[in-house]
């Protein structure tokens, strides 16, 4: 049975994401930061590091989220000279774009590392009882300590999101979790507005399907007797 919060707003648009920032002084702050004012850039960091951390956390998991967030701001500082305002929210858009690119690069790097170093995720493990499915630690999942800090809803969302393809995860993170408007999300991803809407629709459908599976699995786990695990955890 889904929590009550699911039943509340089915027929009305849902608001999501962190509260909007006060952008009135953003142009001045960015200009001062471009002149080398560390304090001004620090204020911009304070304003956006939660959002950037959220995107990186959703895309890449908690392990590297801190490092990646720091790297994103270092990149932004290095590239600040090339930044040009194209509207009031454009610094945030620009920062989001850097974050999205960094997250995608990190996912690619992990994929390459798995190809080069790690065992194939598809290959079963031979045991005395026959071949069993391999279980690997998921880098995008929080550790038990991190999971304890999350709410139940956060944990569910994170688990279902990690079952999706990165493209779907990305648009849902930007639009539904971070609350970006379609126009801004389209600028972040550099795609036409219609394309973004289609992607969001497909991603929501995929999320709904995976959420249904997740709920069924949870119910089966609750009702079924605890099975004896035949899988082995690779080292």
């Amino acid at each position: 049975m889904p929590p009550k919060v699911f039943e509340e707003a089915k027929d009305q648009p849902l608001q999501s994401g962190p509260p909007a920032e006060d952008l009135s002084d953003e142009v001045a702050l960015v200009e001062q930061a471009r002149q080398g004012d560390a304090e001004a850039f620090g204020l911009l960091v304070d304003r956006y590091y939660r959002r950037i951390y959220g995107v990186v956390y959703r895309m890449c998991g908690p392990d590297d989220a801190e490092d990646l967030t720091q790297e994103i701001f270092l990149k932004a500082l290095g590239a600040l000279r090339s930044f040009q305002f194209q509207g009031q929210a454009s610094f945030r858009t620009w920062l989001y774009r850097i974050a999205v690119n960094a997250a995608i690069n990190e996912l690619r790097r992990r994929k390459r590392r798995r190809q080069v170093e790690g065992p194939s995720l598809d290959s079963p493990v031979s045991t005395d009882d026959g071949e069993v499915e391999r279980e690997l630690p998921d880098e995008t999942m929080p550790t038990p300590a991190q999971a304890a800090e999350q709410t139940e809803t956060q944990r569910m969302v994170h688990e279902v999101l990690n079952r999706l393809r990165p493209q779907h995860r990305l648009v849902l993170t930007l639009v539904d979790l971070e609350g970006l408007e379609y126009k801004e999300a389209a600028r972040v991803l550099r795609c036409p507005l219609g394309t973004l809407k289609s992607r969001v629709a497909r991603a929501r459908d995929a999320f709904a399907r995976e959420f249904e599976k997740y709920r069924r699995e949870q119910e089966e786990e609750r009702t079924a007797p605890a099975p004896q695990s035949r899988s082995t955890r690779s080292k």
Binding site: D46, G78, L177, F211
Partner: protein, 289 residues
Amino acid sequence: MAFFTRNNCIRMRRLLNQRLDGELSPADRDLLETHLSNCPACAAWADRLATATSLLRAAAPIEPPSHLSARIKAALATGLADPRRVGGTRSSVRSFSPTFVRLATAGALAVLALVLVTALRDQTVPPVPVSPLSPAPVVERLAVSPPAEALPAPPAPIAPSPRVATATPTTSRAVTTSAPSRPVARRSAPRRVIRTPATPTPPPPPRAGEAPSGDRAEPSDASRAATATQLAMARQRISVAPTTRPVNSGSAFTNHVVGSLVADIMLTAYLDGAPPGMALTPTAAEGDF
């Protein structure tokens, strides 16, 4: 019942997403409500989608660790002090993809092979005028064919292609045949004959049955036999006494292999006409331009 057609359901599911974003027009909203009240499958899907989306939006933002802001500012301060670190990456060692490494290796090997082949060719090409049977590279022979008088009794003519003649017009007319005259072969279209306007080319040694320039000459059986014999002798000469050639490579085996290859190519070209891609004689198609 238009309500339950597949296309209609697909369209209604698009409208469901618009409803989630609050972008549904009143007319579409009525249409959607009517459809949902008549289509149980879409109604169930609408419930699942709304539940999943509301779950997404109900998730509180991820709260970063409390020390993260200070950590970023410290890194930025270090970066400001040392501009080389600004914009740097976490890992100093960049990892290349396996595909990139494979491609780069293949490219490097290809360049190495090209350099080796070029060097080998330079070493195996004799610097003196050679007979048509010599193992000089075919490309070089095509580009600059030797003067007709320098050829010691060539066994058979090799008509240069018009393109080759264009590149070296002075040698364009050195096309003869020693075979008994056979009528001009297949002249399907007027051909471009490049003539040397000012300096007439010295005539080749008198031979019977000289064919007009640019025409395809077909050797007789006797000529083919003679050519084959001479080629065999040339190949034997190359393989037996490679040291008599002014080649300083010191690789008799290489000379033998290259010489045999070139002799085979020339024999094939002469007996069978120009093979594809190596037009020693103009083909009908090439003659049309």
